[in-house]
Symmetry: C2
Subunit: 295 residues, 2 copies
């Protein structure tokens, strides 16, 4: 099996299903639904929803049980991107090579499109699937609300904003990456596991994988920003440096950043020990693929 | 019984319980939690959460069953106020006589405080209460997400923003008020009813009451903006006219607006017909109290 082929196939499935559950552009208010769709279909890799589905399969259940939750996670992820890009936050004009929501629709509609994606995302998490008990679905919703809330991803954005101009420290940087990146990966894996029937111990392992995967993902992203081409990165290379963002390469240099990423990938893979080689193939390959980007 | 005394007592209860469920100011990120609390405790009447509790009681169950849901509704309501007041939306400096969130904490934190209140609000809706089955709690969550989403309150804000500068029409104005005001009242009543065990017919009646109550509430608010004192209104009187907002008095004059409000109050009360006089006392009195404000 080839990881990229698997990812591509699943991405197409997610895109197709997202198109089905998001109100069409013609549905009033037209501009709001256009703004939501603009950002939702701006070419993401759909990594988080794919992880929801794969975590459900790893727990031993049909992937389709977790489909609505996977779509919900992508809506929530897109909401964080739209609000992060706003002029009053990171003030980004492009995302994945496409003009950001507020550049196309204005700041007011961008705020509201983000808001509406939160409600759509949580509605999808709350939709019952046949064969999943309502207690589990409720727990899925609450993993979502806690993952994103004031002590989760939203809290991370506050720490990030307040870190600008501060003296860089590994502690602050890791806290930003854990909150802003790792939490949503951890939440995606836990939600997939929950729906798949994983017990507490297994869900802890999935979260452990997600934590290390999220950190490795962010570190390799930082490294790519220094060494990579804009094409691979999907955003303007060198932007972090321009904005004087705290990054791993700025703090410890490119080589040590690569080593750090490798260590997190190894720890992510180690957390899969309890699973068979065949069952855990996807998550092992996915973790290793992060290192290909920066080696 | 005196309606104002009842409202005052319930408001105090809601305030006390909100203080318990919202992270303390000292919890990091400190500024985010301060911003959330600033707007949550800026002196609201807590009408919507009180309606959740009373609808639960009207359905024949213990009010306390609906407490978390009531608190969740107030968080969601406060979110709508924070985002509506943003410079890119209505650009309001004061709300309930207190500086708005972005005036005190900046635009970035105001956006994020609103976002965080959504996740806290939906988390509260999703918290299971003893004696309420998980299917019902899931339905409560989904009434919340649908009430607020792109075809609900958020959609209403888009219609409102786009109506500025348009030729005023009763159709557009009523659509704005239904989406922005009545929907959340209807959702509050339906959620209280659901938790209290109301069947479909009763929930429809509650929503009918909410629709007319919400419209009467907004019309009397519009009238107060023209005739009232800022003290009663809690915001600067005459502001609608300054901003050239579409309002009922601007469209049909003060006298016909009063008549329109009275008609909606009567229809709200009529929707309570299936309930006993004693059971429905609160909602009847509450509807009539709207007219006292403008007569």
């Amino acid at each position: 099996m080839d990881l990229n082929a698997v990812l591509e196939g699943q991405k197409e499935e997610i895109n197709r299903e997202l198109d089905r559950v998001v109100p069409p552009e013609q549905t009033p208010p037209v501009d709001l639904h256009r703004a939501m769709r603009h950002s939702l279909f701006a070419g993401g890799k759909r990594l988080r929803p794919i992880m929801v589905l794969e975590a459900c399969a790893l727990a031993g259940a049909e992937r389709s049980l977790a489909l609505n939750a996977a779509l919900g996670i992508e809506c929530l992820h897109t909401f964080t991107l739209i609000h992060d890009d706003l002029p009053c936050m990171d003030d980004d004009d492009f995302r994945r090579g496409v003009p950001t929501c507020h550049k196309v629709f204005g700041e007011d509609l961008a705020v509201l499109a983000g808001d509406a994606l939160v409600f759509l995302g949580l509605d999808l998490l709350a939709r019952p699937a046949e064969g999943v008990c309502p207690e589990t679905t409720l727990e899925v919703v609450r993993v979502g609300t806690r993952t994103l809330g004031s002590r989760g991803v939203i809290g991370g954005q506050v720490i990030d904003l307040q870190a600008e101009g501060q003296i860089p420290s590994l502690e602050v940087l890791e806290s930003i990456h854990i909150h802003k990146t790792a939490f949503l990966v951890m939440g995606s894996l836990e939600i997939g596991g929950l729906i798949g029937g994983a017990d507490k111990l297994h869900r802890e392992r999935l979260r452990e994988y997600g934590r290390h995967f999220g950190l490795a993902f962010q570190i390799t992203d930082d490294v790519l920003d220094v060494t990579g081409e804009s094409r691979v990165l999907g955003k303007t290379a060198g932007k972090d440096q321009q904005q004087q963002k705290m990054t791993y390469p700025a703090l410890m240099g490119v080589d040590r950043s690569r080593q750090e990423a490798r260590a997190h990938v190894e720890q992510a893979v180690a957390s899969l020990e309890g699973y068979g080689q065949k069952e855990s193939w996807f998550f092992r390959m996915l973790a290793h693929s992060l290192l290909d980007r920066v080696s």
